[in-house]
């Protein structure tokens, strides 16, 4: 489904961040990406989502065999790519319900469908709130404004549940979540999983991966995937840290 081929990208000033990334994600799979701070995990997710701040200098990103590089961020979203942001932004004065309604209807419009009927929309929102054990009052709050760290992350997953993407990239969605919230968010992600969907989880902690069990774990270091393995790799990283991988790669 998603194929990242020798992807190189960096800042407009020429600073290179991603230095040749290769990653194949097939339908039904869960991939975890781990790696030290500043190794390029968020940059990778931003580039896949089409953030124009980053310049792609080489390689390609394909979805179902077609390059995404010429697509706008919203077109990529319409094709089913969802990014749960590491740092969700605040939009003052825009309620969660109004935001998700606008987002959902934008997706529908892209499919040539009219806006979702208010009653159906409300029903759907209620369902997803329930799934994520969130209170209704949440809908009328101004988007991310004054949200706690954990609330922001739950809100991302709520939006994911509403939009039902084919490929969800979760950038440190577990950071800032308490133990219960972690379980609940994982439930939400698992509810989305199907043989036709895929999930890429970026995380620093093995704990999330106990709930969302990955098929593959990759280690990103200095803009490259330097090691891939199964979920056991995550356990090993938890135990040993990154030093040994850094050493392994020091010579290369």
């Amino acid at each position: 489904m998603l194929s990242i081929q020798n992807l190189q990208a960096g800042l407009a000033d020429g600073t290179s961040i991603l230095k040749g990334i290769n990653l194949e994600v097939k339908p039904g799979e869960v991939h975890a990406i781990m790696g030290p701070n500043g190794s390029g995990k968020s940059t990778l997710s931003s580039v896949v989502a089409g953030r124009e701040e980053y310049e792609v200098t080489g390689g390609d990103v394909l979805l179902d065999g077609e390059s995404l590089l010429d697509c706008s961020p919203e077109e990529r979203a319409h094709k089913g790519i969802f990014l749960s942001f590491q740092y969700p932004v605040e939009i003052p004065g825009v309620s969660v319900s109004n935001f998700i309604k606008t987002a959902l209807n934008a997706h529908r419009a892209a499919r040539g469908e009219g806006p979702l009927e208010a009653a159906l929309l409300l029903k759907k929102m209620r369902e997803k709130l329930e799934l994520l054990e969130m209170d209704k009052s949440f809908l009328s709050r101004s988007l991310n404004e004054g949200f706690s760290g954990g609330e922001k992350k739950r809100n991302e997953i709520f939006q994911m549940a509403m939009l039902e993407p084919r490929l969800a990239i979760l950038d440190e969605t577990d950071s800032g979540l308490d133990i219960d919230a972690l379980r609940i968010v994982a439930q939400g992600v698992n509810a989305l999983k199907s043989p036709t969907n895929a999930v890429v989880v970026i995380t620093h902690y093995q704990r999330l991966l106990e709930y969302i069990v990955p098929d593959y774990v990759h280690v990103l270091l200095h803009g490259k995937i330097v090691k891939s393995g199964t979920k056991d790799l995550a356990l090993e990283l938890e135990e040993r840290g990154y030093d040994w991988i850094k050493k392994e790669n020091a010579g290369k």
Binding site: E74, V89, I91, G93, V94, A103, H107, L163
Partner: protein
């Protein structure tokens, strides 16, 4: 594409309502002197007291200088090149069939056909096209409650005692250059009187529209809410595009007697000039209300139009415990200039005022907020809260805040907050990632930013205002 390019793309909305209507007019030749004023007054069949009142205003005007202190630049109009009277020829109408078909077409283009308006939501309209009201609806329903809602010309003949008692009492002829000019030459506008204790059952609405090339617009609105009454009044306007600048110098006077409440909402969408800043309406308006005891006046405005705007809806809080509110969204784009704000003059004890001003600047425009809060010596325990925010879109525009505070009573409290922000690339990308294109993203962010003002507007008007914000900032919406 950089954010600036995106913004430039989406802020280059062409004015949607740029068209003119041809219908015969009965005009006075351009120029202004005492004879013109006498002729105008005679054409309108006015009583002598009003003719004299106008002539006095004209003399005052001649002794005044056009103000230069506002933070706007423009070529001063040539007041001798303006025609001060133009009326659509067929004036008397009993039904829509009798209205000039060209005029009806104009309304249709604007999406405000009277038929539709009649059907919708019980909004009574007094439509001003050029200078004379040509159609008034819902009069009967209003009459049952004793509410008077008519053109000011009709009021002069039918309710002279009210007009004479209140005209010029809130905005005196000596107030300022444009108010003096308006007093001399005003041709039409609305008059409204709500009797004691009556709650006006519907929103009263006027759609203004400038139509005659080279015709200055000098509306005069006088609204009196008698003791314990309530009225919500809507004013909205659009104008055809035009190459030469058009002058608009209206005066609005509100009188809220003891325990009365007036909500005055404006959605203003005059032609702002093209993307190079050519053409566009000059809007120099004097709007002021006076509150007697426990009375309340709320001004809510959404300003998206005009090449140059100079406008300060104000409240004189004369009665003890009276309340003044000002909620404003002012959008400037391209080369538009706006200098707007409010004055809250606290005279009575425990008077309260709230000012929420939201400026949005895009393109090469310039937006200024100018607010005066004055606490008089008698204003014990008076309070004001002001919040003035500016939102900048791109790097070519400017926003300025000029708060003036005068306190003559130590027990009075004044609180002022101000912020300036930019629409962040982060916010736009976040919305894009959720499937919205950049235009939709900006509309959403801007509407969120303006929420505290928009929620003050009556429902249908709020929807219209949101659309206007979208149109004036976005290009392809609608």
């Amino acid at each position: 594409m950089s954010q600036d390019e995106i913004l430039e793309g989406v802020t280059s909305a062409e004015y949607k309502y740029g068209f003119t209507t041809d219908f015969e007019s009965d005009n006075l030749p351009p120029g202004l002197d005492e004879d013109v004023i006498r002729a105008l007054s005679a054409k309108k069949n006015e009583p002598e007291w009003l003719t004299d009142w106008r002539l006095e205003a004209f003399r005052i005007w001649q002794s005044m200088e056009e103000p230069e202190w506002a933070n706007v630049r423009y070529t001063k109009p040539d007041y001798q090149a303006i025609s001060y009277y133009s009326a659509p020829v067929k004036k008397q109408v009993n039904s829509l069939d009798e209205v000039d078909p060209e005029l009806l077409k104009t309304f249709e283009k604007l999406g405000i056909s009277l038929d539709e308006q009649k059907r919708l939501s019980g909004v009574a309209m007094d439509v001003v096209v050029d200078s004379v009201s040509v159609a008034t609806t819902f009069k009967a329903t209003l009459a049952e409650k004793g509410i008077i809602f008519c053109s000011i010309s009709d009021a002069v003949h039918e309710h002279p005692e009210l007009v004479r008692k209140y005209l010029g009492t809130v905005v005196p002829r000596t107030d300022n250059f444009f108010a003096a000019l308006n007093s001399a030459v005003f041709t039409d506008g609305s008059f409204c009187y709500i009797p004691k204790g009556v709650r006006c059952p519907m929103e009263l609405s006027t759609y203004f529209r400038i139509n005659q090339a080279g015709t200055g617009q000098f509306e005069r609105t006088l609204l009196i809410a008698d003791q314990g009454s309530y009225v919500s009044y809507l004013e909205g306007c659009t104008a055809p595009s035009r190459d030469e600048n058009q002058l608009h110098a209206a005066v609005v006077e509100l009188v809220a007697l003891d325990d009365a409440e007036i909500k005055y909402s404006t959605v203003q969408n005059w032609y702002p000039g093209d993307a190079e800043g050519k053409g566009g309406v000059f809007n120099f308006v004097t709007k002021r209300g006076i509150c007697e005891k426990r009375a309340k006046i709320s001004w809510t405005q959404v300003e998206t139009g005009s090449a140059v705007t100079w406008k300060y809806p104000s409240c004189i809080l004369k009665g003890d415990d009276s309340v003044g509110e000002f909620y404003s969204v002012a959008v400037t784009n391209h080369y538009q200039q706006a200098d707007t704000g409010t004055k809250m003059i606290h005279l009575g004890k425990r008077t309260k005022s709230t000012i929420i001003s939201k400026g949005i600047c895009a393109g090469h425009s310039n937006g200024s907020y100018r607010g005066l809060v004055k606490m008089g010596p008698r204003a014990e325990g008076a309070r004001n809260f002001s919040q003035c925010d500016s939102l900048l879109m791109g790097d070519g525009c400017g926003s300025h805040t000029f708060p003036y505070i005068e306190i003559q009573n130590k027990s009075a409290q004044v609180e002022h907050e101000a912020t300036t922000s930019k629409i962040g690339e982060d916010q736009i990308f976040y919305c894009n990632q959720r499937g919205m294109d950049t235009e939709a993203a900006i509309a959403l962010i801007v509407n969120g930013y303006c929420k505290d003002v928009l929620k003050q507007l009556p429902m249908e008007f709020a929807v219209e205002a949101q659309k206007l914000l979208a149109i004036s900032l976005e290009g392809s919406v609608g």
